[in-house]
Amino acid sequence: MDLGFGSRFDDFRSEVAAFVGAHWPPPGGDPKDPVAQRAFRDAAIAAGYYARGVPKRYGGSEQPPDMVRGEIIRQEVRRARAPAEVRDGGITLLIPTLLEWGTEAQKETFIPKTLAGEYRWAQGFSEPGAGSDLAALRTRAELVGDNWVINGQKIWSSYAHRADFMFALVRTEPDAPKHEGISYLIIDLRQPGVTIRPLRQMTRRSEFCEVFFDNARTPADWIVGGRGQGWRVSRSTLKHERGSLGGVTWVESMLRDLVKLARETTHDGRPAILDPCIRAELAAIEGAAMALTYSTYRSASMNAHGQDPGLFSTMAKISSTDLAQRIAKLARDILKDDLLDMSGPHGKWTERFMVSLSMAIAGGTSNIQRNIIAERGLGLPRDITSAP
């Protein structure tokens, strides 16, 4: 067991730090300038730090997978507050899918421009009436000449109102059994047959959209994988999520923020952090956060050694959700009435108190995930909600 990075990575860390130092802050001096951010990211790809899993011929840096180097890069970039690697759906979901299933033409058309930030993507899986149950998808595409003609509706598509393209699951084989009638299509969102309506959330922000297709079109060869293969293609995406320590950052920074809140808030003239109930719960949350963090390290180490971490990502999802809810409740107990002020000095905590709820909803409800753990992890009998 070696729980440090080990001195053999010291050189690599120095090299990354030197690179970041040379490129950031940008020469122009404005860290919010999108051109400067783009230039930094391009340089990071050229140096082999970003787009590590993508072949050079598609604009990536084609490095062997290395979780430790990946983490060192993230740490050094974060330390310098330089632009992080983009982690949107195009980068994390579409590109790995294309690399595995796409035609050469699809890869050439989409990967370089996606990496460069020119093409932004929306996911089109969920529908009203088909969230966890993708077999119930009703959006359909019919091949008419050289085009798929698409009709139907998608929902919960993040930032579709700012996206250029969608990767979507649609029903192309109406007579096939439910899961076998679905295909994975790429659709240009900038066409008359597509209407996008952002859904305002309880926080007043709009992140998710409804997307309506009314005889929208996409070229016949923008299908990824074969006809009826969409279910399998979409699921292959999951394995690309592994080998990352990403979740750890979120947890630790949220906890740090919560400690800060408890130090700065006074209850009856005393800092809330000195209240033993708040203090003990904060430490209990830290304990749960440590468990999640070390699980992440372990799972990543297993991946790095070619071992299967099993249902780690499903368990991590529920653990994160639980932790977020627990953090939100403790923040509430620290804030007391300040919880009521959406624009006050702690308004972001009021928003987080609400957003913690959406975590239990996004990407499959916790009940579906509990079933997966019970069935695939513990070997309990399957029920009707089990995916085939």
């Binding site: 119930a136 309880m202 007391k336 009521l340 959406m342 916790s366 009940n367």
Partner: protein, 372 residues
Amino acid sequence: MNFLLSEEQRILQDRLGELIEATCPLRRVHEVLDGGVAFDKDLWAKLIDFGVAGMILPEAAGGLGLEMIDLALVAETLGAALAPVPFLGQALAGLAIARGGDADQRARWLPAIASGEILATVALAEEAVRWSSRAWTLSPRDGRLSGVKTLVPHGTEADLFVVGTANGGLCVVERGGGVTCERIDGADRTRPLDRVSFVDVRAHPLKGELDAAERLVDAACVLLAADAFGGARRCVAMSVDYAKLREQFGVPIGSFQGLKHQLAEMALAVEPGRGLFWYAAHAIDHLPEKAAHAAAQAKAHLCDGYLQAARDTVEAHGGIGFTWEHDAHLFLKRAMFDWAWMGDPRHHRLRAADLAGWSSGLRLDNQYTFSI
């Protein structure tokens, strides 16, 4: 013993519920709030006609002369409907003057409150000291008052303020020069809040009963607890209805035992709580020595339960429950108000522990008992 509502009380609640449903169903609540107005004037006028503002005020003042339990039943019904009206401030200000005012003061303000001619509210919390009446600092001198209060319901719209003062006192300030309101960007838009500055305004100390401020706290706890119970029950009903309607994997999601048990737990957390606000309201009129403890426990238990039920309701609805168009967040935000305003559950639990004498030197046999 008869731990039941009377026939009259049930009719009162049913009629009130029908009135609200006809005037301001939940769809209309969204319109009112998104329209940027501070309350639904139409609904408020009808509620005034119904008698909610004078429910518990003396008949001599144009009130109905009923009891705290009746007012709490009104609060429960308004809570279940998310009624966007200035009931809380009006009811509490009326109560404070009825209980704390002398004969002249009662005659001067109560008829206008009961008739809805004026809008009244309470200005209690201060920036540094929120809900401990004994620690408020504003203090009238020679009949004039200056200082700042916060978290004042419908302050901008109010014509009259009952203001908490040093040593647990109360005074009345009529709107006029020297009163400035600044609206807070409150989570619960059904009951907007203001930060209110008083600069050298005329203040009328209430000279009636002692401890009027403490009794006002008790009354507020009961009304918030009742609102919370009404809201929480509605949340359970909404979640159950949705589980019967919404299908996944070809059957209603309410067929799945996982969700069934979660909904059963929601009902279990909410349904048995009703007696807490009934008892506390009853105690205010009939068992004064138990009222503060019962009110604190009702506030803590029911408002805690409401916030959890509202959160569970959002989750039980999936993504749609997180959207602005859906009703769930309005309940969640009203639950946040009920939870925080007048002190959070822990504040009232620690108060209840003090009131129960748990740490006093009393012999254990003399301990407080909550059974009848």
